[in-house]
Amino acid sequence: MTSKPMSLPARLWLLYSTFARIAALVVGGGYAMLPVIEETFVKKYKILTPEELVDMVALVQTLPGIIAVNSAMYIGMKVAGYAGAVLAVAGAITPSYLVIVIIAAFFPHLDPKNARLLGAFAGVRACITGLIIMTAWRTARKTLTGWLEATSAAVCLILVLFGCNPLYIILTAIPYGIGLLKWRERQRNEKQEDAAS
């Protein structure tokens, strides 16, 4: 799986600490986590392939639950099974729990419209914008291997830009992918038969 396999406790700690860090740093919902997940699990530790990262996006959109939590669960399952899923999710909720409980208990009248605070969040969002553009670029280069794939993805993008629910797009893309694979297999078989005869 990796060049140097990690022990189970090491993998569990990696999952917990990474998702705690992601949850503490990243603002802007589930997709904002993608660049950090890519950097940690795909590039640095090579536990996950770029394809598995894209599968995660499709899966968290179709499963019940919060996207950020589902993403943590998916990576946890891939890296260390059920225990990994629990530890990754625990990591993803730790910063929220601490921060919110402290605010609710001690600063219930905190002004959420503080200019510096809003500025810091705008800064983080702008940074994540840059990171996610690069992640999108790499993902597209990896998955769009031919003109048919590129056109299909472009159609999905146009649909979602015009307000179509991503869930339905994925649910339609699944039988489409199955059909595409079958069709390609049949074409390959016919070619082989032609070559044989």
Binding site: Y31, I100, A122
Partner: protein, 197 residues
């Protein structure tokens, strides 16, 4: 104890209803706790949601923790958060496990390939949404925190261009791709620049 278990059950139910992201969670919570049970006032709820948006961590988890805290302090916060992540850990983990087991099956393989194309479009869409939130803002800047939803984007008629956003976004790409800076210092630096500029 009854309050706690009820909290877990309520948030578990709501978690199961969030398919494709936590965007429906806030309206669901509003109906349940403000309108039906009248346990939280309208003002408190509004303040709670804005705090959940400007604190680190997934917004859904932040909101759940806060509502749980208002119901039954530290323990209530823990039970509410637990309820919200249980769907991911039960339904999600089982789904990922069966996909892992059947990943060489032709139907699962084809389905994943199709879903991957849709997911690629969603990642590109996320990049566009983030650009719209931080560079080409279609609301007044103070309002852009509320632009986290996945609705029909108005980027075609965007009225706001944020130079600060563009600056941080471009610098992040250069720092990450050319100078291999990791995401943690990059995000912290962007928060600092955003707060000071």
């Amino acid at each position: 104890m009854k309050t706690n278990l009820l909290l877990t059950w309520t948030f578990f139910k709501f978690g199961m209803m969030c398919i494709g992201g936590g965007y429906v969670l806030v309206p669901l919570l509003f109906t349940e706790f403000v309108e039906n049970q009248q346990l939280i006032s309208k003002n408190t709820f509004g303040n709670l949601v804005s705090i959940a948006q400007v604190t680190p961590g997934p917004i859904g988890i932040n909101t759940a923790t806060y509502v749980g805290f208002l119901r039954n302090s530290f323990i209530g916060a823990a039970f509410a958060t637990l309820g919200l992540v249980l769907p991911a850990l039960i339904v999600g983990a089982l789904a990922v496990n069966s996909i892992n087991r059947w990943k060489d099956n032709a139907i699962v393989k084809g389905g994943l390939q199709g879903a991957r194309l849709a997911a690629t479009a969603l990642v590109v869409f996320a990049a566009i949404t983030f650009l719209q939130m931080s560079v080409f803002i279609d609301h007044a800047p103070a309002d852009c925190l509320n632009a986290l939803s996945f609705q029909l984007p108005a980027w075609l008629g965007s009225s706001f261009f944020s130079a600060k956003g563009m600056f941080i976004c471009a610098l992040s790409i250069i720092a990450k791709e050319k100078f291999n800076l990791t995401t943690t210092p990059l995000i912290l630096l962007s928060a600092l620049v955003g707060a000071l500029l």
